[in-house]
Symmetry: C2
Subunit: 365 residues, 2 copies
DNA sequence: CGGTGTCATGACATCGGTGTCATGATTCCA
DNA sequence: TGGAATCATGACACCGATGTCATGACACCG
């Protein structure tokens, strides 16, 4: 690999002059510049970042750690998509700034984090971002001093800068929109209790009802998702049964995520219930492969992963550059409601209660 | 940040001795070693990879480029999942070898590739992997000499090392398995014509039939997917109509991917057709979020993304280490058939033809 | 007991850039 | 026309590791 000395020799100048041509930090004569540029392209010279870094102590590298640190990870499920979208958001900001991303993943074991951090420090990464696969609290080893750390899609209790989805607002906006479309009885099949997203979204749901003057009915709420994959279908089946057999059943079912909505489609159709004619369905995440492909396409609140990544990246950059760029911590990022045809524009007139054909049959699988 | 000189001073030895303790490349006295190790942990010293690299010319870095170079990309759809799984496969091999992954993506524009490659060369990446989001031909600028390049999920006509999914075999194995389960009339709703995967899988389909002595019936084949997202539902609707209204309709529908199968579920159910009682459905990809969540869970051929990534990484490492480790080019990786309950174990007895309730109605959406 | 090997360690150069300072050639203005 | 300012360029040290070679202290052996 050619060095700056080789270029200097070919161009008949000193290495320092070549350096000046490369960096443009001091004037260089026109003819000299041309000779140097010719030599560079002739030799295919590319400066070594490592050598450059030794003097400047700026590596141009950002370390990125992804992976499920949570204790709930069952280890073999490549959830990954949220991570990826966040990473894309980060990547787009970084490449615009000329930073290069180094990426490492824990493979699900939080024990590997210190090792990964060490590698990044060896490469003198200027900052580190930790990305979680769902909104959660994490405990990370303290970052090495001098290397700023930002958390994306997670937070800790040490006050580390953190970027989170605004789950409360997302659910609020979705439910408000449903109310605006004429729905008053809104079923809600939640994610597992104990998750931050579940709690926050329920608050958003309640706030939207309150704003519209609709009384909150706990009967309409049911957990529709278990961490235990095996029992998922049965749980959702029962939850749907329960809310549909209410004396005054909902006209729309909000699902905790798009995956659950997809499963709900199957369950509802199996019983001969049509969407959205008999009942409307909404999801959460805007997991596009699901939401756009389902038939009918799914109305869903968007989890703004890419925007969260970009926010986290911006914040990290400002920390690196020592800007006092104040941010509230945590920073909440909200996304739009994606309105699609799984929800009727005008809910059935008051008083007309649909009777659903219910069976006691469980998941026949 | 502490340097090796700081450590040497604190421990009262020469920098070279510290280096020896770090690398273990020469014997060091017991007491000296202890003093050095104490100084290291006291100062929180981590060696600088950049400085190390200047002498060794080994950076420990691998460059990874992902993104849709294809001309068909509609630009705003984050397909990404295949990329991610391949990246995970690569990552697991690399971290086991102590290499660090630098990642960059083209954001859909192939014009950015040279720029990304240049960045990697600046960092003196020891090798580069290019990852595509689906099996396709690509044209990349020639890699800088001395930096090996491996293509994952794509190939070129320059003979660059390339790792591809064995689409022919995957479809063959799936269809053979369906035949073994008693199916003889096997409908096939393909991906768009012109894709490599479409051609190869059709060959696999035919080979499986031929091996079982079943005559190939072109009526059973129909394109079920368009690049044009808007028309997708209508296209699939028509394709399903066509094969189901045959005098001797299929007992199972193979879909070009799991996404199409998900859409088929919706279409079939909307018409009151039950799965798998009335007809079986199979997919391709083993896109787990879909295949495991659908009701009933989907039988599908696995596209072994992680294994492909691992293979590509292994190959790249052997190229870097100049091993003559012969590989056939391209290297084909095959995955298992995931058998789930969307396909009946025993197809209906011969002669009993199911009549489907057909409508001429299009997608009512 | 002197010569030879082994062991533990240090001095110094080197990798490939860039910061600092010096130098010679021009240009400029009083 | 002479001194100062500007310009273009080069010499040299330095960043933080490691490879090479040298050195002093012992152990070993005939």
């Amino acid at each position: 690999m050619a060095t700056i000395y080789d270029v200097a020799k070919v161009a008949g100048v000193s290495p320092k002059t070549v350096s000046r041509v490369l960096n443009g930090d001091a004037p260089v004569g026109e003819k000299t510049r041309e000779a140097v540029e010719k030599a560079i392209s002739q030799l295919g010279y590319v400066p070594s970042n490592a050598a450059r870094m030794m003097r400047s102590s700026r590596s141009g590298l950002i370390g990125l750690i992804t992976g499920a640190i949570s204790t709930t990870s069952d280890g073999n499920e490549p959830k990954g998509l949220p991570d990826l979208l966040i990473v894309q958001g980060i990547q787009s900001v970084m490449s615009a700034t000329g930073m290069t991303l180094m990426i490492a993943d824990t493979g699900g074991s939080s024990a590997r984090v210190p090792e990964l951090v060490r590698t990044f420090v060896e490469h003198r990464a200027e900052g580190i971002i930790y990305v979680a696969d769902y909104h959660q609290r994490v405990e990370l080893p303290p970052a090495p001093k001098g290397t700023p750390l930002v958390l994306a899609n997670c937070y800790d209790d040490r006050g580390t800068p953190s970027v989170l989805p605004d789950d409360e607002r997302g659910q609020h906006d979705l439910v408000s929109r449903l109310i605006a479309a004429g729905h008053k009885r809104i079923g809600y099949l939640t994610l597992p209790k104990g998750m931050d997203a579940t709690r926050l979204r329920l608050e958003g749901y309640k706030r939207a009802l309150a704003e519209a003057g609709i009384e909150f009915d706990p009967e309409l709420i049911s957990t529709g998702f278990m961490h235990d994959k095996q029992r998922n279908s049965a749980v959702l089946w029962d939850a749907i049964d329960r809310v549909l057999s209410l004396p005054n059943p909902p006209t729309v079912l909000c699902c905790g995520n798009d995956e659950m909505a997809m499963r709900a489609y199957g369950i509802l159709r199996t019983r001969g219930i049509r969407m959205p004619e008999d009942i409307s369905v909404a999801g959460y995440d805007n997991y596009r492969v699901i939401a756009e492909t389902l038939f009918p396409p799914l109305t869903t609140a968007e989890l703004p992963y890419a925007a969260m990544g970009a926010r986290a990246a911006d914040w990290l950059l400002s920390l690196i550059n020592d800007e006092t760029h104040q941010q509230t911590n945590p920073t909440l990022v909200s996304g739009p409601v994606n309105w699609r045809s799984s929800v009727t524009a005008n809910a059935s007139a008051d008083g007309k209660t649909i009777r659903f054909p219910l069976s006691n049959g469980r998941n026949p699988q």
